[in-house]
């Protein structure tokens, strides 16, 4: 694996840029209610920020922040959040993914519960998309040499 090859300008600029990219990704996920955006787009922006970290530094630097195990857990966590919200609605007496029923456990009325349910599944979609992007990039970039992190 190549180390100490990267330019100090690239490393510094990316180090400064990545937090803003991640905040913007979170904004796109959270603001999908009232502007273009949502889980898929925000998740891709978040994943791209981690890929930028891999490209500007090296994969070891990435592994200090997100281990492979964490990425795998995130991959399945997002789908679990999505399906889990559906099952919670089922347990509360509604149809599958009928978010209006969430008002029985949340201190809001039915319409606001529907809005919150949409936000919850957007977060799940964002987590899965982010983790899958990073996972595929690491699998392709590491030439099968990445040890279990």
């Amino acid at each position: 694996m190549i180390t100490h090859f990267y330019d100090v300008i690239i490393q510094t600029v990316c180090r400064l840029l990545i937090p803003f990219i991640q905040v913007y990704g979170l904004y796109v996920i959270a603001h999908g209610h009232s502007s273009p955006g949502g889980g898929f787009q925000g998740g891709v922006i978040l994943g791209a920020s981690f890929i930028l970290l891999c490209l500007s530094h090296d994969l070891q630097e990435m592994r200090k922040r997100l281990t492979r195990r964490t990425i795998l857990i995130f991959c399945s966590l997002g789908v679990t959040i999505y399906a889990g919200i559906g099952f919670v609605c089922l347990l509360l007496g509604g149809n599958y993914l009928d978010y209006g029923r969430l008002h029985r456990i949340l201190p809001v009325d039915s319409v606001a519960a529907r809005s919150l349910g949409i936000f919850g599944i957007e977060v799940g979609v964002g987590i899965t998309v982010m983790a899958v992007m990073v996972s595929i990039f690491l699998d392709l970039a590491s030439e099968e040499k990445v040890r279990e992190g």
Binding site: H33, L97, S115
Partner: protein
Amino acid sequence: MKWIALIAVCLTGGLLIYGTVDMPNWGDPTSPASLHVSPRYIEKTVEETGVPNMVTSVLADYRGYDTLGETTVIFTAGMACLLLLRRFGK
């Protein structure tokens, strides 16, 4: 053999282009797609879901199953890449 294939492609393409003649115009308000469910979504989205963005409400609420399937597809793609590309047990 090449000529038969070319004729078959041209015939199929011609038939498809002929089929588009019957399609409704772009943005036609009287087309079937604009008459059945679209007006209901446009009128009831804010009232029923409290979400001002109609795209989000259709994507995540009215068509929630579809988005669950899309998320599962992305998850499956990631797992397939992992199984194909990663070397286990070494």
